[in-house]
C-alpha cells in the first residue's frame, strides 16, 4: 500500500470518528452552529481527500453527505433525527469501504449500487426540505424531462437517429423479451481531456452496442478557432448490455451521462424512401377490414402480396413489414398495429402519443444518472404563474437551441426535428393560454418545412417574444437563470481542483499554526520504547562498573567520577523514558468516544431511555492498556444497558425518573487508572445470583448457604455464568463477565462489582497506568533470583520456623491475627529442594495478594527492588505459565519475573 493511501486511511478514520462524535453532540444541541460548521468541515475534507484516490463510490456518498451538510449549515435543511441516522449510516458505509480498501486496496464494484442508494437517500433529505432553493434546478430539469416525456424523446430524438429497420427489429425483439435496451447519451465535461480521459475510448468499451452515433457540438465558429483540447462531442449509443455493466463502466462519470430505457414501441418505426404516390386506398380498406375481423392469416397474406408488388426500400414496405412483425410478436397490441395500417394513408409516422396512455403507462422510465435531475421531483405542478412562465421560457429556449442546431447541421432529419419543435411550441403556447398564436406558428412551421430550414420558425419566435413584453421579461429572467446555472456549474468544475489544492493550503495553514501534530506509526514508538529499555539496562551497568573500579582496581576517584556521570545519564534516561511513556499515553476518551453512539443504538433497540454521562475523559493511560480495555468496557456497558437499566415504565413505577442514568468515569489513583461504570438500574439480586450459580453447578450447597451477599454478587465473574433467561444478540451467552475479568487481569488490572438491589450497580476496573516499566522485588530461591511484581507484594516478613503450623499438610502461620497459608517457592517451581532459612532460623516470607486473599510465599532471601522493562515471554516460552515475563538487569543477567497469580 502506498504511503499516501495509508495516510488517507488513518486520517479518514479519525474523520469518521469525529463526524460520529459531532453528530452525537448535535443530537444534544441541534442548534449549535459551531458544531455544524465543524461537522461540515470534516465531511468536506474527507470527501476532498477521497477524491485523490480512485474510489468513486466513497466519493459519491461523501459528496452527497457534504451537500446535505452544506444545506444544514446554511440553515436550508433543519437538523433532524432521521438526518443523523442517514448520515451515520453513510459514514458506516464509508467505514466499511475503508476496511475493504485496507484489505484489498480497491473497492469492489458491487458497492456501486448501495453507494448510489445512499447518495440518493441523502439527496432526498436535501430536496424534501429544500424545495425553494432547488427550484431553479427543478424547473430546468423538469422542463427538460417533461419535454422528454410529453413530446417523447423516443419519437422526436430517436427517430432522428434513423435506425436501420433490421436493427430496429432486433432491438424491438430484445425489448419485447424484457431485456432492457438502453439509450446512453454521454456528454463528457469539456475539460475531460485534461483529466487524462478519452471519452471515445470509454464509449468503445460499452458492450453489446446495437447502434451508435457521435455528434459534434463545436464551440467555435470556424475550424481554425477550434479548441481541440476541449471535448465537444456527444456520444449516443443503444445497447442491450445489463445495467450493472453499464454502471460499472461509467462509474467515473456518473454526472456526465444520461441513460434511458427504451420501450419496445419506440423501435416500431418504418424507414426507407418516402413513397412517391399514396398507397392504394382499396388495399388499406381491405387490410383494415381483415384486421378488424381479426383474421391475421389473411391479413398477412395480402400484406405479403403487397410487399411483393412494391419496392422493398419504400417507407410503406417497411411499415408493412413492421405490421407483420408486430402481428407475430405482439398479437395483442392491436392498437399499434391498427395505427400503423392507418398511417399508410397519410404516409406519416403514426402518433404514438395518442396511444401512449394505454400502451406504455410505465414502460418509459427515465433513469438519468444526473444527480440534479435525480433529486428533482418528477412532476411538480407549476402552481404559480411565474413558475409557468419560467417553464415556458425554458422550453422555448430549448427549442431555439434545437433550431439553431439544425440550422448548422442541416441534413435529412431536419424535417422531423422542425415538426417536433413546432408541436412543442404549439403545446407551450396552448399551456399559457395564447391559443390565438397557434395558427401563425403552424404557418411558420409550414414555411420552414417547405424551405427545409429552421429560419421561419426562429423568426417567428423572435417576433412573438419581442411583441409580448411580459414574456420577454420572463425570458430575460430565464436567461439569467441559465447564466446563473452556467456559473454554478463552472464553480462546480473548479471545485475538484480547489478541493485538492485548497485542502493542502488549509493543511499548511494548520501546521504553521498552533496545531502541530505528528502522526507516527506505532511500531516506531515501540522501537523507541525498547531502545530506551536497553538504555536503562546499559545505564544500570555503570554502578557495577564503579564498584569494580573501586574494589578490584582500587581507583576511588575514578569510581566517584563514574558515579557522577551515572547520575547525569540516569536523569536524562529517566526523563527520556518518561517522555516516551507519555507519547504512548492515550486519553481514555479514545474508547469512551464510541459509547455515545453505542448507547444510543442499543437503548433505542431496547426501547429504553438512557442518559449517558462520561467523566474524566482526559485521563491517560498506556496505549496497550487502553486498547485492552476497550472490549471489556463495551461488554460491561452492554450488560448495564441490557440487564441493569429497566424499561421506562418499570422505572417510573419504582419511583425513579424514566431516563436511566449511566455514568462512565475514569480517574487516576496514584499509578493506576480507575474506571467506574455506574448505573441506577435494578441492581443485582444476590439471591438470584446464588441460586443461578448453584443451578449451574458453579457452587455447592454448602457455599450456597454460607456465601455472603458481596461474594454472591462476585459470582457474576465466574466462568459460564449468565442470568439472562433468553439469549439476545446483546447478552446472555454466558461468556460475559469472566471474559471481562480475564481480559482485565491480562494487563494486571483488577475488576470489582458492588450492587444494591433497586438502586443500581457499580462496576470498577483498576488498571496500571503503564505496562512498560514494572517495579519488581528481587528474591532469591535455590541460588537463583526471581522478580515478583511489587504491586502484588503486600509485605515481607521473616517467619520463625516455630511459628509455622501444618494444617492438613499445608504450612500456615498466623500473621496479625489471620491465618496465612505458606507456600515454599521451591515447591511451586518443583525444584524439590527445601527453602533455606537465615541464621536465626527464620524463613523469608513474601506476602502477596492473590484474588483478594493473602498468601505467603517462602523464599530464601530478599534482595532490592528494581524498575525493569518487562518483556513478555514469546515463542515457545510464551505458553509457560507462572511467569509474566523476563527482563535484563544492569549486569547483563536475565531476571525471570514470576506471576504469583498463575503460580498458586
Amino acid at each position: 500500500m502506498n504511503s499516501l493511501l495509508e495516510q488517507f486511511l488513518s486520517e479518514a478514520r479519525d474523520f469518521l470518528q469525529g463526524i460520529g462524535e459531532k453528530l452525537m453532540q448535535l443530537e444534544n444541541d441541534p442548534t449549535s452552529n459551531e458544531l455544524m460548521v465543524e461537522l461540515f468541515r470534516f465531511v468536506h475534507t474527507l470527501k476532498g481527500n477521497s477524491g485523490l484516490f480512485d474510489f468513486p463510490e466513497m466519493t459519491r456518498v461523501l459528496h452527497a453527505s457534504e451537500d446535505l451538510m452544506d444545506a444544514v449549515r446554511d440553515g436550508r435543511v433543519s437538523y433532524s433525527q432521521t438526518l443523523a441516522d442517514q448520515l451515520l449510516e453513510a459514514m458506516d458505509f464509508v467505514g466499511m469501504l475503508m476496511d475493504e480498501i485496507e484489505a484489498t486496496e480497491t473497492i469492489s464494484h458491487k458497492h456501486a449500487a448501495p453507494a448510489a442508494e445512499l447518495a440518493k437517500a441523502l439527496r432526498h433529505l436535501l430536496t424534501a426540505d429544500e424545495n425553494d432553493s432547488n427550484e431553479l434546478d427543478d424547473i430546468l430539469t423538469e422542463a427538460v424531462e417533461t419535454q422528454l416525456i410529453e413530446n417523447s424523446i423516443d419519437f422526436e430524438r430517436l427517430p432522428d437517429l434513423n435506425l436501420p429497420e433490421e436493427i430496429g427489429a432486433q432491438l424491438h425483439q430484445h425489448a419485447l423479451k424484457g431485456d432492457k435496451v438502453f439509450w446512453l447519451e454521454y456528454t463528457p465535461e469539456s475539460d475531460s481531456f485534461f483529466k487524462g480521459e478519452d471519452p471515445f475510448y470509454l464509449m468503445r468499451q460499452v458492450p453489446d452496442v446495437a447502434w451508435r452515433n457521435v455528434i459534434l457540438r463545436m464551440n467555435a465558429a470556424s475550424l481554425a478557432e477550434m479548441d481541440v483540447f476541449s471535448s465537444q462531442l456527444v456520444y449516443q449509443v443503444l445497447t442491450t448490455a445489463p445495467s450493472e455493466e453499464l454502471n460499472d463502466l461509467l462509474r467515473y462519470v456518473p454526472d456526465e451521462y444520461k441513460r434511458i430505457e427504451i420501450p419496445s414501441l419506440v423501435f416500431v418505426k418504418p424507414c426507407g424512401e418516402r413513397d412517391s404516390h399514396p398507397v392504394d386506398e382499396e388495399f388499406i380498406q381491405n387490410a383494415l377490414a381483415l384486421f378488424d375481423t381479426g383474421d391475421n392469416d389473411a391479413l398477412i397474406r395480402i400484406i405479403n402480396t403487397m410487399l411483393q408488388l412494391t419496392a422493398p426500400d419504400l417507407w410503406s414496405s417497411s411499415l408493412l413489414r413492421w405490421v407483420v412483425r408486430l402481428i407475430e410478436r405482439e398479437p395483442n397490441n392491436r392498437a399499434v398495429q391498427r395505427a400503423l395500417l392507418e398511417s399508410l394513408r397519410t404516409l406519416e409516422m403514426p402518433d404514438w402519443t395518442n396511444l401512449k396512455a394505454v400502451q406504455i403507462p410505465n414502460a418509459l422510465s427515465i433513469q438519468t444518472m444526473n444527480s440534479s435531475s435525480e433529486s428533482a421531483p418528477k412532476a411538480a405542478p407549476a402552481n404559480s404563474d411565474n413558475e409557468l412562465l419560467q417553464n415556458f421560457n425554458t422550453i422555448i429556449n430549448a427549442q431555439k437551441e434545437i433550431l439553431n442546431l439544425s440550422a448548422s447541421a442541416g441534413g435529412v432529419w431536419s424535417a422531423g426535428r422542425l415538426k417536433s419543435v413546432g408541436s412543442s411550441i404549439v403545446g407551450c403556447y396552448k399551456t399559457i393560454g395564447r391559443s390565438q398564436d397557434i395558427d401563425s406558428i403552424e404557418l411558420a412551421l409550414k414555411n420552414a418545412l417547405a424551405q427545409n430550414s429552421p429560419a421561419p420558425l426562429l423568426n417567428w419566435l423572435e417576433k412573438s417574444l419581442t411583441n409580448s413584453p411580459e414574456l420577454v421579461v420572463a425570458s430575460a429572467k430565464s436567461e439569467t437563470i441559465t447564466n446563473n446555472l452556467a456559473a454554478q456549474n463552472e464553480v462546480k468544475f473548479g471545485r475538484r481542483a480547489e478541493d485538492a489544492t485548497g485542502r493542502k493550503i488549509e493543511d499548511a495553514a494548520a501546521s504553521s499554526g498552533g496545531n502541530k501534530t505528528l502522526k507516527v506509526d506505532q511500531d516506531k514508538i515501540d522501537r523507541l520504547m525498547s531502545l530506551i529499555g536497553e538504555m536503562v539496562v546499559a545505564k544500570n551497568a555503570l554502578p557495577y562498573l564503579a564498584a569494580r573500579a573501586e574494589t578490584i582496581f582500587g581507583v576511588r576517584d575514578l569510581s566517584r567520577e563514574i558515579k557522577a556521570q551515572y547520575a547525569v545519564i540516569n536523569r536524562v534516561a529517566e526523563e527520556m523514558q518518561d517522555t516516551i511513556m507519555q507519547v504512548r499515553m492515550l486519553p481514555v476518551s479514545f474508547i469512551f468516544q464510541r459509547f455515545p453512539r453505542m448507547v444510543r443504538d442499543i437503548s433505542r433497540k431496547l426501547g429504553k431511555e438512557v442518559d449517558l454521562v462520561l467523566e474524566g475523559e482526559s485521563t491517560e493511560a498506556d496505549k496497550n492498556i487502553i486498547e485492552a480495555l476497550s472490549d471489556p468496557l463495551i461488554h460491561i456497558v452492554r450488560n448495564s444497558l441490557d440487564h441493569g437499566l429497566e424499561q421506562p415504565d418499570v422505572r417510573i413505577a419504582a419511583g425513579k425518573s424514566g431516563n436511566g442514568k449511566l455514568l462512565i468515569r475514569a480517574s487516576q489513583e496514584s499509578d493506576r487508572v480507575l474506571i467506574e461504570i455506574i448505573d441506577d438500574g435494578k441492581g443485582i439480586n444476590p439471591d438470584v445470583i446464588k441460586h443461578k450459580a448453584y443451578e449451574k453447578g458453579l457452587i455447592d450447597e454448602a457455599t450456597l448457604e454460607r456465601i455472603n451477599d458481596q461474594d454472591a454478587v462476585n459470582l457474576v465473574f465466574a466462568a459460564g455464568f449468565s442470568t439472562a433467561e433468553v439469549i439476545s444478540d446483546l447478552s446472555g451467552r454466558g461468556v460475559g463477565m469472566d471474559v471481562v475479568r480475564s481480559a482485565v487481569e491480562k494487563v494486571n488490572g483488577t475488576v470489582g462489582i458492588e450492587s444494591e438491589v433497586g438502586k443500581g450497580t457499580r462496576l470498577y476496573l483498576s488498571l496500571p497506568l503503564s505496562m512498560a516499566v514494572t517495579n519488581v522485588m528481587i528474591i532469591e530461591s535455590n541460588k537463583q533470583i526471581f522478580g515478583v511484581p511489587m504491586d502484588m507484594v503486600v509485605e515481607t516478613v521473616r517467619v520463625p520456623r516455630t511459628h509455622i503450623q501444618t494444617i492438613k499438610q499445608k504450612q500456615t502461620t498466623v500473621l496479625r491475627g489471620r491465618i496465612v497459608p505458606l507456600l515454599p517457592l521451591n515447591d511451586l517451581l518443583a525444584r524439590g529442594v527445601a527453602q533455606v532459612p537465615n541464621d536465626a532460623d527464620e524463613f523469608a516470607t513474601l506476602i502477596v495478594r492473590v484474588h483478594g486473599e493473602h498468601v505467603g510465599i517462602l523464599v530464601d532471601d530478599f534482595r532490592e527492588t528494581v524498575d525493569i522493562i518487562l518483556k513478555p515471554m514469546t515463542g515457545i516460552l510464551g505458553g509457560l505459565g507462572g511467569y509474566s515475563g523476563a527482563a535484563l538487569l544492569g549486569d547483563g543477567s536475565v531476571l525471570l519475573v514470576l506471576n504469583p497469580r498463575e503460580l498458586i
Partner: protein, 78 residues
C-alpha cells in the same frame, strides 16, 4: 510515429493519442483538401476524432479494425 503527414494524405497507424489533435488540425487547415488514411489505425483519441468530425476530410480508407470502423462510420457520415 502513429501519425504520418504526407504530401496530400495523413496516415494514421495504431493508436492516435491526445497530443496529435493539434498537429492534425493544423495540417488539415493548411491542406484543406488533405485526405486521411485510417486503414491501420486501431484507436483515435476523442480529441483527434472531433478534429476529423469538424474538418470532414476525405477518408481514403476506413480502419481495418471493425469496431473502430463502425464507430467512425457513425461519427463521420451522419
Amino acid at each position: 510515429m502513429a501519425i504520418e503527414f504526407k504530401k496530400t494524405t495523413v496516415v494514421f497507424t495504431d493508436f492516435i493519442g491526445v497530443e496529435e489533435a493539434e498537429t492534425l488540425l493544423e495540417w488539415l487547415l493548411k491542406n484543406p483538401k488533405g485526405k486521411v488514411n485510417l486503414s491501420d489505425c486501431t484507436h483515435i483519441h476523442a480529441s483527434s476524432l472531433q478534429v476529423l468530425m469538424a474538418a470532414k476530410p476525405a477518408i481514403t480508407s476506413m480502419p481495418k479494425d471493425e469496431d473502430l470502423a463502425i464507430w467512425l462510420n457513425a461519427a463521420l457520415t451522419s
